[in-house]
């Protein structure tokens, strides 16, 4: 196995994402969520937002190459869990600077006694003012 504890601390470059209204609408439609704050800018403004806001799971669309995991056989991975933490909602027009980092790797025994490797990948996003907006933590299980 190429993936082990040594990848903890591996960091991506900084990726800049412009949050677009069309991307928010398409994502909300894909979930089947017709909340007007995702579709109608006037409705979002009436609720006090600058523009459309993004659904809580929207950071999944911000694809950053996973640091330290390029050698991993994708067919042996499972998505074990996911966390999102927000200081404020993401708003259309935001330009977010995001960095992903492997923050933990640990081993656990599976149901049948086989070893499973848990990889915790954290992505943090801040706006152009340098204010923290969100972080997301992905648990990847490597079998």
């Amino acid at each position: 196995m190429i993936v082990d504890k040594s990848i903890v601390g591996c960091k991506s470059e900084v990726y800049e994402f412009e949050i677009e209204k069309g991307a928010i609408r398409a994502f909300a439609r894909a979930i089947g969520d017709d909340n007007p704050i995702y579709h109608d800018e006037t409705a979002a403004k009436e609720q006090g937002y600058r523009s459309l806001i993004a659904p809580p799971t929207f950071p999944m669309t911000l694809t950053i190459p996973k640091p330290g995991l390029s050698n991993m056989d994708k067919s042996r991975t499972l998505h074990g869990g996911q966390e999102f933490i927000y200081k404020r909602p993401i708003v259309a027009g935001d330009i977010l600077r995001c960095v992903s980092e492997v923050v933990d790797v640990f081993e656990k025994d599976g149901k049948n006694g086989e070893k499973m490797l848990f990889i915790i990948l954290e992505t943090k996003g801040e706006d152009l003012e340098g204010e923290y907006v969100f972080s997301s933590k992905t648990t990847i299980i490597y079998r």
Binding site: R29, A30, G32, D33, N35, G48, P56, G80, E83
Partner: protein
């Protein structure tokens, strides 16, 4: 709902989504950028040892996001959403999302929920979430 309307142990009205269709998985793949073919291509799914294509786990988490954002209304926002995947979802499945109040914090104006999703057969997601309410 307002922060003051939530009570500990209160179970919120569940969100029952329409049955998942394969076209929803293609649509979610496109919108999210998750093009892992186990979600859209039967052959790939079967080669991976699955009975057929499976739904993106994050699609079901998106449904939980919908339930929570509806609860927050224009009074707050989802400040934390933390889930663990416990089961797979297949085309045809009806996913039901639930939230139950487990804690409230007056100072931070937060409500913490235990959340879960299930198909008629099994639980597929478990976790917790927080809505932070804006000060009036």
């Amino acid at each position: 709902m307002q922060w003051s309307e939530f009570e500990i142990d209160q179970e919120l009205k569940p969100l029952v989504k329409p049955p998942i269709e394969k076209v929803h998985l293609v649509q979610y793949a496109g919108a999210s950028g998750d093009f892992n073919l186990i979600h859209t291509d039967e052959e790939t799914a079967k080669n991976a040892g699955l009975p057929g294509v499976i739904a993106h786990g994050m699609l079901s988490v998106g449904y939980i996001g919908q339930l929570l954002t509806n609860l927050a209304g224009n009074k707050g926002f989802v400040s934390n959403l933390n889930v663990r995947f416990t089961g797979m979802v297949f085309p045809g499945d009806v996913v039901t999302c639930r939230a139950k109040v487990v804690a409230k914090d007056e100072v931070n104006r937060t409500v913490v929920f235990k959340i879960s999703s299930e198909t008629p057969e099994k639980q597929v997601i478990t976790g917790d979430a927080t809505i932070t309410f804006y000060h009036e």
